[in-house]
């Protein structure tokens, strides 16, 4: 192991959100881009090894940020990438139409001393707006190389590459931010404390960290408290107090001093035509954020988002389910009967199917979300609906994930990535599993088919079944919003989120970026959440399979032999199917899951359920719709769907030990309420673990949803029973 090749030198690609960073990265990286994860946070780390003027360098795509102060995980990463593991050089992508804001970030990067190139992107848009930018004057004023780009068309990429090669060979050179005398005195104290703590790295001075600390450390915030030494926090507090005695605010002074440099550079470089016409974006916004048309457009777009996962993905989901079934048959036909065959067919193949089946929905949703994001409309979604979301302690960006929750929580949880702040994201992803997803529908259909089979009418017009179904959806929305509001005050405390959100200009998305980002999402789901789902499927299979039931097997074997001897044709097939269903029923009752169902019966009885429903509830952990087929096995009618008349008939005639009917309307409603609120979906928990970064959160979600479901179903059944509602 004498591998001496040093790690390739890194070049960071940094920039404001919406500045075209991803497009530039793709242009520079070509097909070599790799996606990983930054340790500890669920922010994608995209990188690529490329050749640059004969040298091998690693391009790293730093998350989009307006500042290097640490207000979000993305900013924290940007800081760490620059200061903790110093790169060879940095490219800062600046949107030429929002020049000053981009140069503020440039100014901060320059202060660290890293050799820097400014990639002045969207020059075509700037020209169209009548902005004339003298890049030479800009470069001189800032003391940095500037390259003009239209990254979406690949213009200027070769120039940039050449400059990057040169700049990466330069040494680090810190550009000190000079502050007024009084402010300097306050900053010195922080610098001294940072030096004394011995925590600064070679290559970056205590000065840079001191300014960072003054803007980033101010009481409770989002950063990991353990990373920053207490001595730094104390020093910052002292410096602020000192500044207050001078009558100055250090934040104002530092940001102001940077913008003074930026504005000087802008003044030197930019000349603009007076009375520039209102931009294309503004004209589009007159429609899309119009009080009436805007809401209409919003409704249409949201309908399309919903339809994409609810409807458009359906044929693909069906095809995947068919292929899984076909593959299972193939395994069963090709291998000798036995445990290994069952493990392969019902554990492994079913497990892979349980993972892949989500891919169409995830891909559809992210294609659309990425399209909305890259086109600029996603920010308008937040803008239009923020007022509604504000009431429950969320902000406008939570709307699309919550809406997606009506179709499926898995893509919906992943869609929370568009929400910047970790606290807001956590609340959204932990509340949205309460939205009534499409997998709950088969459960409602079965139960309603059993308990409201007749033509009962409420107020003469509404059918009782339709009303019950509607009530379940209303309950799920109320529960979701209430859970979000409660979590904001308890688990994820913090001020209600704000909506300081850029409304980027409307742009035509690049197909390449859409496909690339969508594939990243699908891939990260398959790799990270997929393995957990596969493992859980196998565990659940084992629970339903062990211990085995040799007596039942032998009996079924004998019956089958007898049937073959005496019957033929359709009669034989029907009899064999009946025997098979009985065998499955006996095996299930014998299995660990069956015993568990019986063991929890005392807890379920007050909810109007018995041990058979209990087994169904346990089986439904694989996916809620599995409740139906598990019940089919429990009641000895085989693996059937929710429309199966046999299963409905069995459920209608099923009795409790005291001879009263099992599925009264009241028991049915209690069961549906339970399913609305319970976290009966291991895939949701797996994807929550992936997106929240730790098992702590899915465990919490499982606990609170199960408790909520239990208490609500208990209330429904007990109160209903006490008043004698729907008990016959």
């Amino acid at each position: 192991m004498s591998s001496q090749s040093p790690a390739p030198r890194a070049i960071l690609i940094a920039g404001n959100p919406n500045a075209g960073k991803t497009t530039l990265f793709n242009q520079l990286a070509g097909t070599k881009a790799r996606t990983g994860n930054y340790p500890g946070v669920t922010v994608d780390r995209r990188s690529a090894k490329v050749r640059l003027g004969g040298d091998s360098v690693e391009l790293v795509d730093v998350p989009g940020t307006y500042s290097l102060a640490a207000a979000s995980p993305e900013e924290r990463i940007a800081v760490d990438s620059l200061l903790v593991a110093p790169p060879a050089a940095a490219v800062v992508v600046v949107d030429a139409t929002a020049l000053a804001r981009g140069l503020y970030l440039v100014r901060q990067v320059l202060e660290t001393g890293v050799p820097t190139v400014v990639a002045l992107n969207m020059m075509d848009e700037a020209r169209a707006q009548g902005l004339r930018i003298d890049t030479r004057a800009l470069a001189e004023s800032l003391g940095v190389r500037v390259v003009e780009l239209v990254a979406s068309r690949g213009e200027g990429i070769d120039d940039l590459r050449a400059v990057m090669g040169k700049v990466a060979k330069k040494p680090w050179r810190e550009r000190r931010l000079e502050l007024p005398e009084l402010a300097e005195r306050c900053v010195e104290g922080v610098e001294a404390a940072i030096l004394a703590s011995g925590a600064t790295q070679a290559g970056t001075s205590a000065r840079v960290w001191a300014l960072w600390a003054l803007l980033s450390l101010a009481g409770e915030d989002e950063r990991d408290e353990n990373v920053v030494p207490d001595a730094w926090r104390d020093a910052v507090r002292d410096a602020r107090a000192q500044a207050a005695t001078f009558g100055i605010d250090l934040e104002d002074v530092i940001v102001g001093a940077r913008y003074a440099r930026v504005d000087a550079a802008v003044a030197a470089a930019v000349s603009a035509e007076e009375n520039a016409r209102p931009g294309r974006s503004d004209r589009i916004d007159r429609v899309l954020t119009h009080p009436v048309l805007g809401l209409l457009a919003f409704a249409v777009v949201m309908y399309v988002v919903f339809e994409s996962i609810y409807g458009w993905a359906d044929p693909f989901v069906g095809a995947i389910e068919d292929s899984v079934g076909w593959l299972q048959e193939l395994v069963r036909a090709g291998l000798p009967e036995g445990l290994f065959r069952d493990l392969l067919a019902d554990g492994v193949v079913a497990g892979v199917g349980n993972v892949v089946v989500f891919v169409p929905q995830i891909a559809m949703l992210f294609l659309l979300i990425n399209f909305l994001e890259d086109s600029g409309y996603l920010a308008r979604v937040a803008f239009v609906i923020d007022r509604v979301m504000k009431g429950v302690g969320l902000h406008g960006k939570a709307f699309v994930p919550l809406l997606s929750g009506f179709a499926c929580a898995i893509p919906a949880v992943m869609a929370t990535r568009t929400i910047e702040k970790r606290g807001d994201r956590l609340i959204t992803m932990m509340a949205l599993p309460l939205m009534s997803c499409s997998a709950r529908l088969p459960v409602y259909v079965l139960v309603i088919g059993v308990v409201f089979a007749g033509e009962e009418r409420v107020f003469g017009v509404f059918s009782a079944g339709a009303l019950a179904l509607f009530a379940m959806y209303v309950l799920s929305v109320i529960a979701t919003l209430a859970a979000a509001a409660v979590m904001r005050r308890t688990v994820v405390k913090g001020p209600a989120p704000t909506l300081v959100l850029e409304l980027p200009p409307y742009r035509v998305p690049l197909l390449r970026n859409l496909l690339g980002t969508t594939w990243q999402r699908v891939r990260s789901f398959l790799v990270d959440a997929g393995t957990v789902i596969l493992a859980l499927t196998i565990v659940l299979w084992a629970l339903l399979t062990f211990p085995q039931d040799p007596a039942g097997e032998a009996q079924a074997e004998r019956k089958a032999e007898a049937a073959v001897a005496y019957l033929e044709g359709d009669d034989l097939d029907a009899e064999l199917a009946r025997i098979d269903a009985q065998r499955a029923q006996s095996q299930l009752a014998h299995s660990a899951a069956g015993r568990l169902g019986k063991a929890i019966e005392p807890a379920l009885e007050p909810l109007g359920m018995d041990w058979r429903i209990g087994i169904g509830v346990i089986g439904a952990f694989a996916a809620r719709e599995v409740f139906v087929s598990t019940l089919g096995m429990v009641f000895g009618v085989g693996e059937v769907d929710e429309e199966d008349p046999g299963l409905r008939a069995r459920l209608r005639t099923a009795e409790r030990p005291d001879g009263s009917p099992l599925m009264t309307p009241l028991a049915g409603i209690a069961l549906m309420v339970f399913f609305v609120l319970a976290a009966q979906c291991m895939s949701t928990l797996a994807v929550l673990k992936r997106e929240a970064g730790s098992w702590k959160w899915p465990v919490f979600v499982f606990a609170y949803m199960t408790a909520l479901a239990y208490v609500a179903a208990l209330l429904v059944y007990q109160v209903g029973s006490a008043f004698g509602w729907g008990t016959a």
Binding site: A69, A100, A218, G219, D249, D285, V500, L503
Partner: protein
Amino acid sequence: MDGARAIRLRLMEMGLLPGTTVRVVRRAPLGDPLELRLRGFSLSLRRADANAVRVDVEVPSVHGAPASEADAADDAPAAHAAERSALPA
């Protein structure tokens, strides 16, 4: 860092400094938040947050001023120069 202070810093870092010219472009369809335009880009800001940073409304444009003394205001002329292009006369 209390909410108002965090917003104030974020707005300053995005270029909303004492003396920066800001235009209120429109309200969201439901009345809140506001769309502001400054330094060549658009920003969505809730009314309550806009109050927290004391954006004083004037006609025909708006001058935003963070709550404390205008220490950083010496760059204001440059900010205006950069801004004029994005504003209607």
